[in-house]
Amino acid sequence: MANVTLRSVRKTYPGGFEAIKGVDVDVGDGQFCVLVGPSGCGKSTLLRMVAGLETITGGEIDIGGRVVNQVEPADRDIAMVFQNYALYPHMSVYNNMAYGLRNRGMAEAEIKTRVEEAARILELAPMLERKPRQLSGGQRQRVAMGRAIVRQPKVFLFDEPLSNLDAKLRIAMRVEIRKLQRRLNTTSIYVTHDQLEAMTLADILVVMNGGQVEQIGNPLDIYQRPATTFVASFIGAPPMNLMPLHSDELSSQVTGADGAGIVGIRPEDFVISGETAPGGVALGLTVEAIEHVGAETFVYGSRQREEQGVAANPGDLPPGEVIVRVPGTSGPAIGERIRAVAPRDKLHLFTADGRKRVGQ
């Protein structure tokens, strides 16, 4: 049980490359913190710094009230689950889990109790004598989890633990990890590039980009009030529609947009309708593509060609393209002209550089 506090943590590599540019995060006792961001944003590096696998070149990392900058990974009382599981291939499942306990000189009887308890929780009991190569991906994943929980550490660290699993198993394991963490109530830090994983697991979500924190908060707060256009387009699938406000049909429609240069609207906040709420937005679109997902339908429409692109973030829509989410399977036909309408309170306004949210 412990808090994890990062105070202006920096990482500069010998070549001068700055991977982490000053990060402040405070993870409370028993909380599940998710670091999310595109690849290369420094989230894994940050996690490895907490683990002690990377040196810290600036700032402080505090685990349970103790600054651990100079503490060896073994002495930080943490356990880590790696992306490739990093099981010891020459040891049985039992020994994989027992290894960390033996290194700490625990009595064999106590080790047996703990390993069997973990095996029971993770449904690994029938395969304790097997070697990792005789296990499926999901089972290996669970052994890696088991190896972490038998240690009963202060903090769990997860480095993209589900990305090697197939889609179905990933969802199942995601739920299992969440349940397990609730039950053990151990402070956890979890790294992922999958925004859905991030949304569903996190108590605290940390959105990172280019070695910096873009936004920290409760996942729903972040979804509802993204602080920057980067967060707005990274969190949520399909991404938020971001459109420039200047010299455009939009600027006359949106009220109270002083200082704003970009307007963002989530696909689900659009309604295809003839009516317009005061201060809201109405866009004329030509339907270009339709995606049926079953429970919902995504309509890709294009506006007039005159608009220029908004600050380009990874995964952004091409300029002039708008996604509208329609519930169910009904929807317009390709080539049809539609009017997509969003009320004023569903609009997200950002400064022209996308770095700041304006107003509500």
Binding site: A51, G52, A74, I78, M80, A86, Y99, N103, R151
Partner: protein, 293 residues
């Protein structure tokens, strides 16, 4: 399959393989068959009469205490060379595996000795450790060691082992380095987080994961110590003093070419051939299966 399209003539593929086949047949199979035939023959001292004696040459060998001594000596040499060169190479590889500045340079330097021919290795070490000329011998004598491998059989044996092991370190180093680099970094990191100190990490994780490499190198080193040390022995000690450094291979040479006992020499070569076949079989069997850990 494109096989037929490429070779329109039936003779062409045979013609292409022929040079290689000819080399193998003339330089490997023919001498081997000759050795087997020779080992059944007995010649008088002047080579005037030859008689077919079946297995008498072999029986003589197994009754000969000198041959038995050579077997024991060869195994002892092989074991000492393999163990010392493997352990030293592993130590160097572990050091070189760390991400340090200039690692390319010293990795390259460590590989160089492998390019030195065995007789040259022998000459190098003789220069360093010759009782009257050697640089190191002087220091040894000032330290009070009565160093004279020309007279002292144990010291001569030590010298051979040293030189032979030194030469093989590069080869082993290369394989160990590759082996170490194929161990996933995250497994070692996991062990570090699991509380294993560097030494314990090495013996409980790295060493077991290297075991296929170690086994492979063990066989290779034994084969090397058995057969490829001829050049080193010939330049350094010529099997002496007495017979202190006469291995099985060197005995084939002394008995046959120097002693003129062609029948016995041939029988010894046949026995060596059987040993090589056995070692190769063991290696193929286990290396193919990749030694499970």
């Amino acid at each position: 399959m494109q096989k037929n399209a490429i070779f329109q003539s039936k003779l062409l593929p045979y013609a292409l393989v022929a040079p290689q086949l000819a080399i193998v047949l003339i330089f490997f199979y023919w001498p081997a068959v000759q050795a087997v035939i020779q080992s059944f023959l007995l010649q008088d001292a002047f080579g005037l009469s030859t008689s077919f004696v079946w297995f008498e040459n072999y029986l003589e060998l197994f009754k000969d205490p000198a041959y038995f001594a050579a077997i024991v000596r060869t195994f002892a040499f092989s074991f000492a060379i393999a163990v010392s060169s493997l352990s030293f190479a592993l130590l160097l590889a572990v050091m070189a595996d760390k991400p340090l500045r200039g690692s390319m340079l010293y990795r390259t330097l460590l590989i160089w000795p492998y390019a030195v021919a065995p007789p040259v290795v022998g000459v190098l070490w003789v220069f360093m450790l010759h009782p009257s000329l050697g640089v190191l011998s002087r220091y040894l004598r000032t330290l009070g060691v009565d160093w004279n491998p020309l007279l002292n059989g144990d010291q001569a044996a030590l010298l051979i082992i040293l030189a032979a092991a030194w030469k093989q370190i590069s080869y082993n180093f290369l394989f160990f380095l590759a082996g170490l680099q194929s161990i996933p970094r995250s497994v070692i990191e996991a062990a570090a987080i699991d509380g294993a100190r560097p030494m314990r990490r090495f013996w409980t994780v790295i060493f077991p994961l290297l075991s296929p490499t170690i086994f492979f190198l063990l066989v290779i080193n034994i084969v090397y110590a058995f057969f490829d040390t001829f050049g080193i022995i010939d330049t350094m000690t010529r099997g002496g003093p007495g017979k202190a450094t006469e291995t099985l291979v060197y005995k084939v040479y002394t008995d046959g070419l120097l002693g003129g006992n062609l029948g016995s020499s041939a029988a010894q070569s046949v026995i060596l051939m059987v040993i090589v076949i056995m070692l190769t079989a063991i290696q193929f069997r286990f290396v193919e299966r990749k030694v499970t850990y």
